[in-house]
Amino acid sequence: MSSQAHFTDFKSDKQPTWCPGCGDFGTMNGMMKALANTGNTPDDTFICAGIGCSGKIGTYMHSYALHGVHGRALPVGTGVKLANPDLEVMVAGGDGDGYSIGAGHFIHAVRRNVDMTYVVMDNRIYGLTKGQFSPTSREEFETSTSPEGTKQSPVHPLALAMAAGGSFIAQSFSSDAMRHTEIIEQAIEHDGFSLVNTYSPCVTFNDVDTYDFFRDSLVDLDEEDHDPTDYDQARQKIMDFDNIYQGVLYQDDDSVGYEKRLGIEEPMNEIPEGAPEGAMDLVREFY
């Protein structure tokens, strides 16, 4: 692979089975462009995903990839990055995968701060199982399993990340291609765990959180004079549940990835052909 990859190098020859018009197309395109723009190649990139429409992304992209079990993509990405810090690790998931079954891992991945980029394709519905409410669905949202509304408050992913000590918290919209790509580029370049909650509308099952809804409601932080390194400002925006923002809400410039703090410098794939030198010292400890 040449050192300079084009974004199409990250595309596989498999045609996506996402519904026509699905927000995931735009989300994925932005990921591919951002990877190429930041100097990565398919051979040094690892993509992890869980289950659901979002989980299929590894099949449609070209890189090293693992399509795992439901909700556990973040621990897989953690293992990959710690075992080989030279790799660019990107984790993709949906709102169900990340904030429901995988919510526990989400909080711990945020606070552990391994250098990887987590893109959550948030469509506020369960798509692949054909239209049940998700953890980010609105309280009054009517679905096959919530005929009278969910009667639960939605999860606020950005607030959750901030409470867990997140070092990079951002939000994007899959159909705003330029901004979405730019935000993911910033996430890739951040040293530490980066959350990009990407609104990625489901055109089949969600007639409330539509392209039009997001287009009309999104407030771009570039037009707000927002300073993401100002923690108090970031907190105000993140806790402002009446508005939906696009852009980097918070970034800790001093962040250092967990793998660096552990002192991991080399990939762990080289080992001696026999016992390591001085192995008898391990036995002598037990005298």
Binding site: R72, G79, L82, N84, G104, P267, M280, V283, R284
Partner: protein
């Protein structure tokens, strides 16, 4: 006097029982004596009864017995709990000045030593256990210099003053007994020039992992497996590896999966409840053909069961656990030294065949400290086999006509090549979904059959290429056959010395694939399977494999087998046969 001495210290959790026992065990080991320990503990941090027992002899030891010769009792309950094991010459060391009124039964020798006051004289009440160790040395006829050496090892890092105080405390205990008890206890513990090492099964697994090239460990604390993680923490960094304490077992095994795919030798260790949580990912590991070692250090189940007690109840889960049909290897070390060797073997098997490997140990091995010659851990014999790994030069032969790498290439032996991420032209995906040779999802009927057959073929290849021999003891031609697995081997071997009948013992360390025992079972008049569970999970396997009924000796009260009871039960089992025949 018997050739072996049985000693114990007991009190409340938090009394320092464990470190006191360990210091004495180390003193004995450093004096060239063999040591075999056992622990009695409860699932709590402070309070409750806890004991550390040591059996020591100049000869090799592989089991515990039902006898206590010297008991250091810090509480009345320690005496009460061990009444059955005390005999008329047993010595009970206790502190009569303590608030409890010790009731030592008349038939035992009662040794009232003011442990606490003597410790205070030596520099602090905290050393009362060391005073007791000094007293025990005098009773046992064991030179106190060896205890000095163990105290030096224990406290050396914390300064000479602490070492001196402790050695002084030990002398106060010894002198008190010398001066106040004009009694010949009849013991004289021989010492040798041998330098043994003293370690437990969890430590042996951890050491095997390090030597075997493990670079990534993720785990979640659980009794009795935590010690593996504690051993690796701090040490693995010296080899460029890392330990992650994950948020739960689901995360731990998925981290291990990610690290393995990135090219690291990777493992996790847990106990039964943790295996339950890991089972979903276990299927993914097998389907994605990722090499991982999963140690299951068994304890009493089901559910939370008895977390600090022995059982071998997880065999079925490791053999059959998970939905669908999952090729896997299941190794079960039979001794603490084998915990070391089998861990290395587990990594080689995992990588050669790109398959998850269960390493099944149990609480009895995990917490037992045993002496070995250092030569038991021969580092020159260690060989690392990483299996089929491709690099930039060799990858061409595994690319399809469009230049795409095939991670699930349908190789004749079932083993496809691996490309570590970062390898040029090696980019590929894998998934728990059924996939084609490229790793992409498929529902094609032919491709499904091809991949299932390919994965199962690895087991056939391994069956032909690897040595799955069991361990054999006793008389090969004996008509009485004893079969066992896991930690029971030592106790059975010792029991065999006291049997009136000739017995052949086959101890099986490979649960899957496993040796064919049909010939041995058919050659025997009668076969008995010994295991620590209620239903006889291994006996069921043997019956299915050999199409022959077997007898069963089971124990499931939470305590490991000891040599005395096994001698009795094995004799009974084979005698019953003779009577039936007569």
């Amino acid at each position: 006097m018997p050739e072996d001495l049985n000693w114990a210290v007991g009190g409340e959790a938090g009394d320092g029982i464990d470190s006191t026992g360990k210091i004495f065990a180390q003193a004995l080991s450093r004096a060239g004596r063999h040591v075999f320990t056992s622990k009695d503990f409860a699932s709590r941090i402070r309070g409750g009864y806890t004991a550390y027992k040591i059996r020591t002899s100049v000869d090799e030891l592989n089991s515990v017995v039902d006898r206590l010769d010297i008991l250091v009792a810090l509480t009345q309950r320690t005496i009460d709990e061990n009444l059955d094991e005390l005999h008329e010459d047993s010595v009970v060391i206790y502190d009569g000045e303590r608030s409890w009124d010790a009731e030592v039964p008349d038939e035992q020798i009662d040794l009232d030593v003011p442990l606490k006051s003597l410790a205070e004289d030596a520099g602090g009440a905290i050393m009362q256990n060391v005073v007791a160790l000094g007293a025990a040395c005098e009773v046992a006829g064991f030179p106190i210099e060896h205890l000095d050496s163990a105290l030096e090892k224990r406290f050396g890092d914390k300064g000479q003053k602490l070492v001196d105080n402790n050695q002084e405390a030990a002398r106060k205990g010894r002198d008190y007994v010398q001066e106040n008890y004009d009694h010949d206890f009849g013991y004289s513990l021989d010492t040798t020039d041998n330098d043994y090492v003293l370690l437990n099964g969890d430590e042996a697994i951890g050491m095997g992992a390090l030597v075997g090239g493990c670079r990534f460990y993720a785990g979640y604390p659980i009794t009795p497996a935590t010690n593996v993680m504690e051993y690796l923490t701090g040490r693995i960094d010296n080899y460029g590896g890392t330990v992650v304490q994950a948020e739960d077992e689901l995360s731990a095994i998925n981290m291990a999966l990610g690290a393995a795919r990135a090219g690291a030798r990777s493992m996790t260790a847990t106990s039964g409840p943790g295996i339950d949580l890991m089972t979903e990912t276990f299927g993914l590991i097998a389907t994605s053909e990722t090499p991982i070692v999963i140690a299951d250090v068994m304890r009493s189940g089901p559910s939370t069961g008895m977390p600090t007690k022995q059982e071998q109840g997880d065999l079925n889960m490791t053999l059959y656990g998970g939905h669908g049909e999952i090729p896997r290897f299941v190794l079960a070390p039979t001794t603490i030294a084998e915990c070391f060797h089998k861990t290395i073997e587990a990594f080689n098997l995992a990588e050669k065949y790109q398959t998850p490997v269960y390493l099944v140990s149990d609480l009895a091995m995990a917490v037992t400290e045993q002496t070995f010659s250092p030569e038991e851990f021969d580092m020159d014999e260690v060989e690392i086999d990483r299996g089929k790994v491709v690099d930039e030069d060799s990858i061409d032969q595994y690319l399809d006509e469009q230049g795409r790498f095939q991670p699930h290439y349908d190789a004749a032996d079932g083993v496809s090549p691996r490309a570590f991420p970062g390898t040029e032209q090696g980019a590929h995906m894998t998934t728990g979904l059924e996939h084609d040779e490229l790793g992409r999802r498929t529902e094609d009927t032919d491709e499904r059959v091809q991949q299932v057959d390919k994965r199962n073929r690895k087991v056939e290849t391994a069956q032909n290429e690897e040595d799955w021999s069991p361990r054999e003891f006793g008389d090969e031609d004996a008509e009485n056959l004893v079969l066992t697995w896991g930690s029971n081997e030592g106790a059975i071997r010792e029991a065999m010395q006291d049997l009136d009948v000739d017995v052949r013992l086959i101890s099986v360390p490979y649960m899957f694939p496993r040796p064919d025992l049909t010939e041995a079972v058919e050659a025997a008049e009668k076969t008995v399977v010994v295991e620590c569970n209620a239903t006889g999970q291994f006996a069921d396997v043997v019956e299915r494999d050999t199409l022959t009924r077997v007898e069963r000796i089971n124990k499931y009260n939470g305590v490991r087998f000891n040599a005395d009871e096994l001698a009795e039960r094995i004799t009974e089992t084979f005698a019953a046969e003779s009577e039936a025949k007569a």
